[in-house]
């Protein structure tokens, strides 16, 4: 019995995926569990395994095609059985979106476009905004929506029209415009780049950020780390990030209001403390998620984090490893950064930006000595929390960092 392979839903907000590479040719034998195809989602490249054994009878889309979740991409079956192909739109050249005309009959109960019925990419705009945008040749995709739930409304389009009509607003050449820089061919944005752009732009436009910076005494933490690492094997040593993730997780357990999301006009507190850690990858960054970080022993937390970071850098992260964080820690300490300010990673309510541990002169009593200091900046969503509460959170964090034995308990 021939079986249709559909674009899998690899993340809760995945609407479509790109077929990066077929690992099996048409006519090739496939065993259940073997990798059939590589799919690129917004966040990662994922190997998709065959759910049944058989022969890959037909690849329904070419490499590079962008396919909605739930749409058929291949047919597995016996070598000689007659095939009934799902009706498909003519495949365009590789790289162009391929849209199935009809959902496969074999998958009842599943929405045709996108497993969750959402349209893949359509700017959310009111009808009048849409009409005005067409009349004035404004690209809705480039606008932020100020209406309810981020909807682009009339005033947003009017603002864009007004901005455009300010002389020189659009045409003003930057000093660099004429230089060779503009001559370089622009490579198309990767999915990851596009996603980061959209999410960060959305976050900055929609979340009223506020920022609190604190300088922490890092000496106890560094001492503890040194002592611990002297007893740990090379492959299992603790990083500053591990310790800070644990400290942040415990602080979130103590002040749970920062472990929350602002959604649809209300604050949703999360039961689990899942700390995301920002990881730089080629051409972007991802957050890997330490689930229940407040409850895991440090060593386990460190090993998990290390393994996930390695996988994500190879582009082999599993969806559950990069989703579901409730708070993020971003550490640029290894790049010799004094301190920095991070953009909140939606739908979280806060993010902690960590700078480098520095040897600095410190005053103890009447003496000046050498101390180790670490600057952290908390960015928080003002719809969820306020300055005083965020400051209290930093105090709790300071407690764990400056008296780090608690991290081991």
């Amino acid at each position: 019995m021939a079986e249709t392979v559909s674009m899998p839903k690899l993340g809760f907000d995945m609407a479509e995926g790109t077929v990066v590479r077929w690992m099996k040719r048409e006519g090739e034998d496939v065993k259940k569990g073997e990798v059939l195809v590589e799919i690129e989602t917004d966040k990662a490249t994922v190997e998709v395994e065959a759910q049944a054994s058989g022969v890959l009878r037909k690849q329904l889309v070419t490499e590079g095609a962008i396919v909605p979740v739930g749409a058929p991409i291949a047919i597995l079956g016996a070598a000689d059985e007659p095939l009934e192909l799902p009706s498909m739109a003519k495949s365009g050249p590789p790289g162009l979106p391929t849209t199935p005309v009809e959902a496969p009959k074999a998958a009842p109960g599943r929405a045709a476009a996108g497993g969750d019925g959402r349209e893949p990419v359509r700017a959310k705009a009111s009808p009048v905004a849409r009409r005005l945008a067409v009349e004035h040749a404004i690209d809705l995709a480039g606008l932020g929506g100020s209406g309810p739930k981020g909807r682009i409304v009339k005033r947003d389009v009017e603002a864009a029209i007004a901005a455009r009509s300010i002389p020189g607003y659009e045409a003003a050449p930057s000093p660099l415009a004429a230089s060779a820089i503009t001559e370089r061919a622009n490579p198309p944005l990767s999915k990851l780049r596009t996603t980061i752009g959209k999410r960060m732009q959305g976050a900055k436009q929609q979340i009223p950020h506020f920022y609190l910076t604190a300088e922490l005494d890092a000496a106890p933490l560094m001492a503890l780390r040194e002592q611990a690492n002297a007893r740990l094997p090379e492959s299992g040593k603790l990083s500053v990030t591990d310790l800070l993730v644990k400290a942040a997780a415990l602080a979130l357990r103590e002040i749970p209001n920062l472990n929350a999301s602002f959604a649809e006009g209300q604050i949703v507190r999360h039961n689990a403390v899942n700390v995301g850690v920002a990881v730089a990858v080629d051409d972007g960054l991802l957050t890997v998620v330490v689930r229940d970080a407040d409850q895991k022993p440090l060593r386990m937390l460190g090993q998990e984090l290390q393994a996930m970071i390695a996988r994500v850098r190879e582009g082999r992260a599993r969806p559950e490893e990069i989703e579901g964080s409730t708070f993020t820690v971003s550490n640029l300490g290894m790049y010799d950064i004094d301190h920095f300010i991070a953009i909140i990673n939606p739908p979280e309510a806060a993010i902690l930006a960590v700078g480098s541990v520095r040897d600095v002169p410190v005053i103890r009593g009447d003496e000046i000595g050498i101390g180790k200091r670490l600057k952290v900046t908390l960015s928080a969503d003002h719809r969820v929390t306020d300055g005083a509460e965020a400051a209290r959170w930093l105090q709790v964090l300071r407690g764990f960092v400056e008296d780090p034995l608690a991290l081991l308990l």
Partner: protein
């Protein structure tokens, strides 16, 4: 201009029409000797006599049935139903006879009957005596349904209703009788089937009628302090429904809130919102909001009754929602 109560305005309209046209007569429960449950016909019995101000048995089907027959025979009856809730007892007469006789008999006669019915909640009369079922009647072609929100419109529209060749359900909101408004002296008519802008504003179109007009005007004052300028379109007539001022306003404001006292389900809000979507979809900037009564039989308890009925704050909230 004199300030009259709604009761006085309605009373004047009846009096003037009875003076003008001797075919006009009144029938209903307690309209004669007692002067009307809401004192609208006080003094009529003494002035016009028992032939033209007729007390009837407590039998609504009889009241409307007799009015239908009299209208077919050439008179101009004004039937009063003590509350619109009792109109359900006369439903067959209203929807199967008043509404349809003219077209079913090829226009051999008309049915120029006016059925005055007192509606609305808010007076702790219990679920069966507090309804606002105006839309039920507006559902039927052949009927005209008029529900004024000001003394001025009550007078002008009732006079027009009495002169109409077709049956008119004229809904008077019980809690509006004592409200005052400017009413011009002397003869004037308002035309049935025309909506009217009662307040100008640029930010949002608020569509309403009857008692909710008064609440909407108060809500508009609150919102003006927040610099939200509300334009209020008073439908005045539910059938035939005049959408022109609504659409005209909506094309400027791009936002609408519809306020009715009855339940939202299958109501005025549903009808007006669909027509806006049909006629002005490309002007929509926010999902249209509806304000109406909570979907329960209206409680008797005063606090609960007020909670279930739409209030000024509900209107204000709905407007903020679309702005």
């Amino acid at each position: 201009m004199p300030l009259l109560t709604m009761r006085e305005a309605i009373s004047q309209a009846l009096w003037e029409e009875m003076e003008r046209d001797e075919r006009v007569f009144i029938l209903g429960e307690e309209v004669g000797v007692w002067g009307g449950t809401y004192a609208v016909t006080k003094g009529f019995y003494d002035h016009f006599g028992p032939e033209r101000v007729r007390d009837t048995p407590i039998a609504e089907a009889v009241i409307v049935g007799a009015a239908n027959g009299a209208a077919m025979a050439g008179l101009k009856p004004v039937a009063e139903l003590m509350t619109i809730n009792f109109a359900f007892l006369a439903m067959d007469q209203i929807v199967n006879h008043s509404a349809k006789l003219r077209s079913m008999f090829g226009g051999q006669f008309t049915v120029p009957v006016v059925i005055r019915a007192v509606g609305g909640g808010g007076r702790q009369l219990g679920a069966t005596h507090s309804q606002t079922p105006d839309v039920v009647f507006a559902h039927f072609p052949g009927l005209k349904v008029v529900a004024p929100g000001t003394p001025h419109d009550a007078k002008g529209l009732l006079k027009a209703a009495i002169r109409s060749e077709d049956p008119v359900i004229f809904v008077e909101h019980a809690t509006l009788y004592h409200t005052r408004g400017e009413v011009p002296e002397g003869e004037f008519l308002e035309s049935i089937g025309t909506s009217k802008v009662q307040r100008r504003g640029r930010d949002v179109t608020l569509v309403t009628y009857s008692k909710m007009l008064q609440l909407s005007m108060q809500a508009a004052e609150v919102l003006a302090q927040e610099h939200i300028e509300v334009e209020i379109v008073d439908l005045r007539t539910l059938r035939p429904l005049d959408m022109a001022p609504v659409i005209d306003s909506f094309k400027r404001t791009n936002r609408a809130v519809i306020v009715e006292e009855g339940w939202r389900s299958f109501g005025v809000g549903a009808e007006v919102a669909s027509r806006i979507y049909e006629e002005a979809f490309d002007y929509v900037d926010a999902p249209i909001q509806r304000v109406g009564q909570k979907e329960v039989p209206l409680p008797y308890n005063r606090t609960l009754e007020q909670l279930a009925l739409p209030q000024v704050e509900d209107i204000v909230r709905a407007v903020r929602e679309v702005c």
